[in-house]
Symmetry: D2
Subunit: 316 residues, 4 copies
Amino acid sequence: MVTMNRNKVVIVGTGQVGSTAAFGIVTHGLCNELVLIDHFASKALGEAHDLDDGSEFQDRHVKVHAGDYADCKDADIVVITVGRKPPANSTRLAELGFTIGLVGDVVDNVMASGFDGVIVMVSNPVDVMAWYAWKRSGLPRTQVLGTGTALDTSRLKTIIGEETGLDPRNVGGFVMGEHGDSQFTAWSTVSLGGKPFARFLADNQDRFASVSTEEIEAKTRMRGNEIVAAKGGTNFGIASTVAGIVQTILWDERRIVPVSTLLDGEYGEHDVFLGVPTELRANGANEIVELDLADDELAKLHRSADIVRSYCEGLL
Amino acid sequence: MVTMNRNKVVIVGTGQVGSTAAFGIVTHGLCNELVLIDHFASKALGEAHDLDDGSEFQDRHVKVHAGDYADCKDADIVVITVGRKPPANSTRLAELGFTIGLVGDVVDNVMASGFDGVIVMVSNPVDVMAWYAWKRSGLPRTQVLGTGTALDTSRLKTIIGEETGLDPRNVGGFVMGEHGDSQFTAWSTVSLGGKPFARFLADNQDRFASVSTEEIEAKTRMRGNEIVAAKGGTNFGIASTVAGIVQTILWDERRIVPVSTLLDGEYGEHDVFLGVPTELRANGANEIVELDLADDELAKLHRSADIVRSYCEGLL
Amino acid sequence: MVTMNRNKVVIVGTGQVGSTAAFGIVTHGLCNELVLIDHFASKALGEAHDLDDGSEFQDRHVKVHAGDYADCKDADIVVITVGRKPPANSTRLAELGFTIGLVGDVVDNVMASGFDGVIVMVSNPVDVMAWYAWKRSGLPRTQVLGTGTALDTSRLKTIIGEETGLDPRNVGGFVMGEHGDSQFTAWSTVSLGGKPFARFLADNQDRFASVSTEEIEAKTRMRGNEIVAAKGGTNFGIASTVAGIVQTILWDERRIVPVSTLLDGEYGEHDVFLGVPTELRANGANEIVELDLADDELAKLHRSADIVRSYCEGLL
Amino acid sequence: MVTMNRNKVVIVGTGQVGSTAAFGIVTHGLCNELVLIDHFASKALGEAHDLDDGSEFQDRHVKVHAGDYADCKDADIVVITVGRKPPANSTRLAELGFTIGLVGDVVDNVMASGFDGVIVMVSNPVDVMAWYAWKRSGLPRTQVLGTGTALDTSRLKTIIGEETGLDPRNVGGFVMGEHGDSQFTAWSTVSLGGKPFARFLADNQDRFASVSTEEIEAKTRMRGNEIVAAKGGTNFGIASTVAGIVQTILWDERRIVPVSTLLDGEYGEHDVFLGVPTELRANGANEIVELDLADDELAKLHRSADIVRSYCEGLL
């Protein structure tokens, strides 16, 4: 049908993460129209102009502009990246409260526009914020998801690629649970070139003698912190992840991605958002794949659930 | 370094397969320069012009032109697609002899140019032709490979995607052996969303009650013939596969693809080319992944090897 | 908004042109869902399977399937490529009548579905068929357009690129009028690197001594026939052009492309479809750019209009 | 030929501009190998990891890693983005001296590696730095170029696109001269849809009554400063521009881009680098297009040349 608003994406929050995600979306040419919203309108405008300025060198012309919440009305996806760098003497709890305040306002404004698309939550702690946005928005569970352990999973594959000298996209498997310290690699699901990863290593001992799963898992968990230490934040990895999730939704590709989504009985958990392999479709997060986790993996998942739930308590 | 010949690909044979592979390469923008060679020079010229004519609407400008074997001298990849549609009363053996004659001439001409890149064989029976080209060219085994069961594997994933309503790229695993009737799906290697495929089906019985692995395997094996019956040949699937292999080599991506490569002890086989998962690098086919095949799968692989070897006998 | 049918394209007619256009669309990843319709359902199914089979090697997953006219109901674009190779003893008039019959049926079927998107006509003579489809469909003029001289313009740029050794995308300007023998290059509009083309040649006489605008124009006009003579038809150039037009519409890029559109006073012509520079938006063909043509160019445009109108007479 | 180092790009300086350019290159999939060098090795490593981390969601796998100057030996392109934000009380001259020191060291280190590719200078004032790098490196003039007015030209087109509601890529023409305050729009070269821009506006007075060339030129000149005021710097526009230049060189596309290159008699100027339309090939900056500038435009070019030359005096 004739419509001028195909594939409209709104990004709320134009800090390093939000603006770089916008750049990934523009460079991949994923939508017709990309709207940036920021508490500081001039910041959104500056980012929009900067993104637009390279249009001669992009393959597809995405219309980028600064906007306001009214733009969410007919948007397909709203990406929420609001947050701040914690002040020096802040506590984890204080920061949680601060971000919840921001996210609550954003969700209220988005919903007030008449929005009926998919919210992709990026603000941290992402599992808490996605859950809160779901509760507060009243949207169906499919339509609210967080980036979850999608970036952690891509990191796992990247690190395996670095260690083995192979294309990361050869790797199958998932990092699961909290996007945070309690996350874990579900090694029982990790494969490389059609083999369980451990077996792949064992069969290629001479080539990969120095590669260990413990080290890979530790590197995966620490990667974000190391990047923050080196450059003061992370933006490229999360931007590519957001662009990938946006593509999968807009193209209705039905790719299985470990986004943060509501567990409603799956893995024996309820009323908590965690990163678990999920079929992404045009309407957001659909079926969760229930992996046959090893007992220790399942225990880690429950621990992650407990931790995330503890953050959520009292927020409503 | 300053060089005008980065990423030069030559395609020999501009029938439906060769020319459509060229279109895939141009549309993906994979190389600087694409040269078409055909026994009928005017055919190559016509295809080159037709490919070039859409240049305004392509993302990258690939220089396409008709050429001759001297163009192979500094080429990175030569794709060989020569062949003919068998005359009505021809026999399999007669056709084999005919194609061997063509391929032999092409290989001699390519090597006479001073070529030292990677040969990607597409002409059928591809396992025989790749082996023959390797023998005849004197190139290292890494530098001669056939498309093997790469297309069959993509078909398997596509059919699983169609049957389950999921993105084919969620599927891991390989079709192996001869690119022909004796090929088999190594089900023990097939996974979907981090689960063995059989388990995935079992866990989703209500959604996928009608899906059976036997049927999927049969469909995969018959797919080519059905397409030939419907449209008189196949070109798009194989063109995408060739483009994918060319990308993986030119970018040195080190992706594991079941190309046809020399077995030299792997899986207990020698001196035969078969489709097996192989690390593709800038120099072509590197390490073969030795999967832990089930006994019946291994038996099928040996049977494939015997069949391919029997075709090869007496060809040198 | 949540919708499963974003960016749905239907191609009617799966001959060489229709199926190769489909391959261009899939390889560029332009839509979510691509439906093929053919009088011979098995042909459409075979092409759909062949297109789908390479999905592992494509960047985005486009769902391709064979369908029927009911699929047009919620399609954004319907591309019509029906036609036949003229029998040996056929006349131009007989062929026109034959194709009109096909196109009329297709348009009726498309409209009966409730279609309210953009028709992109490819069937030849394209200016006649686009006009006829517009009349017959009752759609607003914006929503029916033909490929017009978009391919001829790309050919002009490509040939200038070949002759000068420069990127065709440096060239500005248009081939206009009938997509046929009476087409003409509006040289007064052709520029290269910011200069009128004639001036560019004059200023670089030593480099481009052998380049002449007459020869370029003649080559552009003959290019299609030469390709047909060499390979029995053309498909790649037109496929890239169709993909380019589809992209421009779906992304609402507002690119100016010389599609075939209704002249309603522009250039002093009425009730005729001709290739003229036109702003393409999400709703199809919008404003026509009225170039300041030289007198002889304007005369050629009128001649083209007369020829196309003469074909249209008596068709309703 | 078999080589593992096709299309290797090195970026020196991983501040906002360098790292975002790297992200553009990775997202477009332009090279095999991308190496980041920074005075602070941990910064380069952090950026490399962050860039690599999204590899699962990229179309092509680019190997990104932190490196050192030895990596330049076989690189095709070295992009130099070193610089600093001026301290509060610094003067323009002091900053020039500081950056010259940095660039001189970088060039010496790059050349010491045995580098023989193309230097793309991004550090500001870019015309001065490109000239200095050319002098200091001893490379042929083709092999040293600056981003010049390529970004300003893209901005001009973008702003025209914003003002007219059309695709910026419809616009032809160039911003020329210094990448700085003395730059100018060569309006005599600017066209839109095959018409001189002024004529296009005049012919569409009702639609574009509010659009003025003076305002567009002023907006183009101020755009960078406005973005800096809004977000503290610019990175996306320049990153897309760098990626575009890298693509044009690596693909040998021969696109005409107003990079900063040595004037050696063209436009009556000598021994100065300025942004002028230049044919980019695999070996860098080739023929300069000498536009037929209006007298006032030519005067502005000479003024720009004088200003840039005045900065260069005494630097050697």
